[in-house]
């Protein structure tokens, strides 16, 4: 068959991508402290250990809080930027939108170092969850803008005017017409910003205060090999959570397209 070599290549490629991740649940349920084959037997006590570790629970709580806040702020900013990009006309629009998208390609380590200097030396702030949130909003906003841009681009710009013409104020026109049509984009944006923030390490490592975020705490655990299986258990939960969130985001995106009667032209999944 003509496509056979390509098919083999594609399968090997997918294995290379996902096989390491498949090891996570394998060792999370393995009854041995050392991460090595052969497997010893099935256990769930790494998960019980995980639940008993207060420092880790605290780190997870921090991360969830930071991720939730980041998702909300990044999406709000994205909403404003995408609406302006799609509906308003102003001088230098192209340049400004490009500039807003720049953090997408800036090396995170550069962002982290410069933000640390700004927060500590220039503004004299104490490092806390909020400094991490501010930085995460910076790196998540471009993603939110990109997602919401898609939602707004599909929108007829005269639709909000039509609602105003039919008796609604500017705000209620936005609420009744624009918001329902871009709602799926908003949900996608929230979920993606949440996921990005949740596992972000470099910036959190630089800007975190007394309470480390989950990725930072995990990195600290690596010095204690006995704790590794617990990390595996946590990783398993996170992978499952990420997959669920991404699937939900995609479902919302598709539903939005179907609702507006637009043909599907790509997406994340």
């Amino acid at each position: 068959m003509k496509g056979a070599p390509l098919r083999v290549y594609a399968i090997l490629y997918l294995l290379f991508l996902y096989a390491p991740i498949a090891l996570l649940p394998l060792f999370a349920f393995n009854d041995a402290t050392i991460i090595a084959f052969p497997l010893k037997g099935f256990t769930t006590h790494w998960f019980t250990d995980l639940a008993a570790n207060t420092a880790l629970r605290q780190a997870v709580g921090n991360s969830l809080f930071i991720a939730a806040m980041t998702a909300v702020f990044a999406t709000l900013l994205g909403l404003c930027a995408a609406r302006a990009g799609a509906m308003a006309r102003f001088p230098g629009k192209g340049g400004i939108i490009g500039f807003v998208m720049l953090p997408l390609v800036l090396p995170e380590i550069i962002v982290a170092v410069s933000l640390l200097i700004v927060m500590r030396q220039v503004l004299g702030l104490n490092l806390s969850n909020w400094t991490v949130i501010a930085a995460h909003v910076l790196i998540c906003a471009p993603f939110s803008i990109a997602i919401l841009n898609g939602a707004f681009q599909n929108l007829d710009p005269s639709i909000e005017e039509a609602a105003m013409d039919l008796g609604e104020s500017r705000f209620s026109a936005f609420r009744l017409v624009t918001l329902p049509l871009v709602w799926p984009g908003i949900v996608s944006s929230l979920l993606i910003a949440f996921t990005i923030s949740l596992d972000e390490f470099i910036i959190a490592f630089f800007l975190t205060g007394a309470n480390p975020t989950m990725p930072v705490y995990i990195w600290g655990l690596l010095r204690f090999p006995a704790q590794l299986p617990v990390v595996m258990a946590l990783g398993t939960i996170l992978v499952a959570l990420s997959v669920v969130l991404l699937v939900i985001a995609e479902l919302f995106r598709r539903r939005g397209l179907a609702r507006a009667g637009i043909k599907d032209t790509g997406g994340f999944l």
Partner: protein, 358 residues
């Protein structure tokens, strides 16, 4: 009839761009009024200014005697049918049509009845439960119409509503809009770049160029007595010749055609001296064997033939006239279609001349 909409010295600037220049215009209650002009002439800006979607830089705009300065679109007695129709895709047809009734104090059932009546009026009875995005272009347009008319506005604004439809559909909708306007008696203001559409549908037409109104008149006057060369060029086809109007205004010397006596009505508003003379193609005739000109005759040579089926358009070169004259002839029974290069006798009539300032 009284003026329902009055515009006085209305100007609109976008930065350096002067979109509307000193617009003075009265639109009467109950008339079908068209704003006609090439793209970029400001006709849509003017319509949006009446709707309140666009602020004017200076000048006064009154609707029904009330100054509209600072009045938001939702507080104006106008409703608009957008070029894209702007039907809300996430709602059903009935929800779209009933959208403007949200603040209406009537009961649910009464509103539902009003929606159904409006849908029947535009020929969409029974479509209420359909999803708006599943409709065809023509159906969306009807939804947009019903959605605006259900609010019984004083003025219905239509922004190029027919431009996205195919030819057959467009002609059908033109007649339907006229019928609808007579039925509801609301003032319609139509924006269009299609001169034929404007002539067919309107009681009166304002022709606009580069932010200014060139002429306001009923269709027949606009066609027969255009005020400027530009208006004459934009409405229908027109041949232009050089000429000179006598001091008493009762005779013109036309390059290539000779001297012609004219009535005062034709020369009205044009000062003596050099003038432009317009002749419509259908007022010229190619004279076939045995036919003689009712009034005047000239000799020429056919330089171009365009065959339309019911009509043939000839370009006829006449000595002393720079550009060939375009002549339209009905293809009546037994009448041949002439070839390029054939000699032609041209019949013309001084009563059909249009005099314009040069």
């Amino acid at each position: 009839m009284t003026a329902l909409i009055e515009l006085e010295g209305v100007n609109k600037h976008y930065g350096d761009y002067h979109a509307l220049r000193d617009i003075d215009l009265d639109i009467r209650a109950g008339e079908f009024f068209s704003l006609l002009g090439p793209s970029g002439c400001g006709k849509t800006t003017l319509l949006r200014a009446i709707a309140g979607l666009e602020d004017v830089t200076s000048g006064a705009l009154r609707i029904d005697g009330r100054d509209m300065k600072g009045v938001a679109p939702n507080h104006r007695p106008t409703n608009m049918v957008f070029q894209s129709y702007a039907v809300f895709p996430h709602l059903t047809v009935a929800e779209n049509v009933g959208f403007g009734l949200r603040r209406d104090p009537r009961s649910r059932t009464e509103k539902a009845r009003a929606v159904e009546t409006a849908l029947e009026m535009v020929g969409l009875g029974g479509y209420g439960k359909r999803r708006a995005h599943a409709l065809s272009g023509g159906q969306r347009q009807r939804v947009a119409l019903a959605r605006a008319l259900i609010l019984e506005p004083k003025v219905l604004l239509l922004d190029e509503p027919l431009s996205a439809l195919d030819r057959l559909m467009r002609e059908q909708m033109q007649l339907e809009l006229i019928r609808l306007q007579r039925q509801v008696g609301i003032t319609f203001i139509l924006v269009t770049h299609d001169q034929e559409e404007a002539l067919v549908m309107s009681d009166r037409i304002a022709v606009m160029f580069e932010g200014e109104i060139g002429q306001v008149a009923d269709p027949e006057t606009l066609y027969r007595k255009p005020a400027t060369r530009r208006v004459a060029q934009f409405i229908g086809k027109m041949n232009f010749l050089d000429g000179r109007l006598s001091a008493d205004g009762r005779a013109v010397e036309i390059a290539g055609l000779g001297r012609a006596g004219i009535t005062e009505e034709i020369s009205r508003g044009v000062s003596s001296g050099p003038v432009a003379i317009g002749i419509r193609p259908e007022t010229l005739a190619i004279l076939f064997e045995g036919e003689s000109a009712p009034r005047r005759e000239a000799e020429g040579v056919i330089s171009e033939v365009v065959y339309y089926g019911d009509m043939t358009y000839y370009d006829v070169r006449v000595d002393g006239i720079e550009k060939p004259l375009t002549v339209s002839m009905k293809n009546l029974i037994g009448r041949p279609v002439l070839d390029v290069g054939a000699p032609a006798r041209l019949g013309w009539d001084e009563r059909a001349l249009v005099l314009l300032p040069r």
